[in-house]
Amino acid sequence: MAEENVTFHLPDLGEGLVEATVLDWEAAVGDDVARNDPLVEVETTKSAVVIPSPHEGRVVELHAAPDEVVRVGAPLVTFAVAAPDRPAAGIVGTVPEEEKRPRRRVRLTPPGE
């Protein structure tokens, strides 16, 4: 399986927060991490959180040092991930989410026969 680099940007932390301070990396360059393994501990004005790894792969580069302030959307870490042909969205629009079970509110009554 070919490998490709994927960069993970500091995600939107909600409540209009625009930046966070890196407290502690829980993975180092060269580490193989599983999806959802603890990746990095960051602190915002509201609270301190541990961001789980969004990918399974090898840590290639850390883009921020402890105590560094990172803006939401700025690169945080680059992984080398196995390159399945991930569906890259086309030039416009977003790849539609495959909703496991669409919400429904309407019930049917089977015909009498």
Binding site: L23, D37, E43, S47, V49, V50
Partner: protein
């Protein structure tokens, strides 16, 4: 899931069993003032760390917080009300003994639970906590307006979405009505105190541990807000809970 337990306060709680054996002792996580299970524990990596050890996690939103009911009279927040909730929850889940891990206000309630229902608590961890009066000098009728450490905490948490400032104020007054006393201490229950080196609200934790025969871990460079998510804290608690 939520349950009407005592004086009809509905309490929301998480019960996460990663396939742990039925008789394993679950971990009861008690969050701090103004926060809730999701923010204080899940977002801080605790569920991940405890489940990795195969431990079952019970995480209530304490009354006045998160998804639980938020009464606004002070008396609803006396410590004994919280401990009644917790005992009722353990009964509802028919769990006879738990290891309790608290943080800040959660630690004080964990201590009270161990005192009031010693049979239900195997081990005790008090995080971000110390014997001194957390409210020291705070005007409880003008919360958030003064300059005490607790005023600062109150200002931060009352701004958080789906927090109810009136309920939190009543909760503060309810807690303050029963100032913490380190005497008597829970008998025969090993306990661990863990706090950030720069956490003013945990001053005196080391002495408390020494005087009461508990152990103590200090987390360098961390304060009251960012100690709970530190890897050192989590590792110390896991080691304390899983050693036989």
């Amino acid at each position: 899931m939520s349950a009407n337990l005592t004086d009809d306060v509905a309490m929301r709680y998480a019960d996460l069993r990663p396939g742990s054996p039925a008789d394993a002792v679950p971990v009861l996580l008690l969050h701090g003032f103004g926060t809730h299970f999701e923010m204080n524990w899940k977002a801080a990596g605790w569920v991940q760390s405890l489940e990795a050890e195969g431990l079952r996690v019970i995480g209530p939103d304490l009354r006045g917080h998160g998804g639980s009911d938020k009464p606004t009279d002070d008396a609803a927040y006396l410590p004994e009300r919280f401990t009644q909730d917790l005992v009722a929850l353990l009964d509802r889940l028919d769990v006879d003994r738990v290891d309790v891990v608290g943080y800040s206000m959660g630690s004080r309630l964990a201590w009270d639970l161990a005192l009031r229902a010693p049979g239900r608590v195997r081990r005790l961890v008090l995080g971000g906590f110390g014997p001194n009066d957390a409210f020291g000098g705070t005007d409880l009728n003008a919360l958030g307006e003064g300059e005490t450490p607790f005023d600062g905490v109150f200002r931060t948490v009352s701004a958080l979405p789906n927090n109810d400032a009136a309920a939190l104020a009543a909760c503060a007054r309810g807690q303050a009505a029963r100032p913490f006393r380190s005497e008597p201490a829970p008998e025969g229950i090993p306990f661990l105190l863990v706090a950030g080196a720069e956490d003013p609200l945990a001053a005196g934790a080391e002495e408390l541990a020494r005087d009461r025969g508990g152990s103590h871990v200090e987390i360098p460079g961390r304060d009251h807000a960012n100690a709970v998510s530190s890897r050192v804290f989590r590792q110390a608690v896991v080691d304390f809970l899983v050693r036989d």
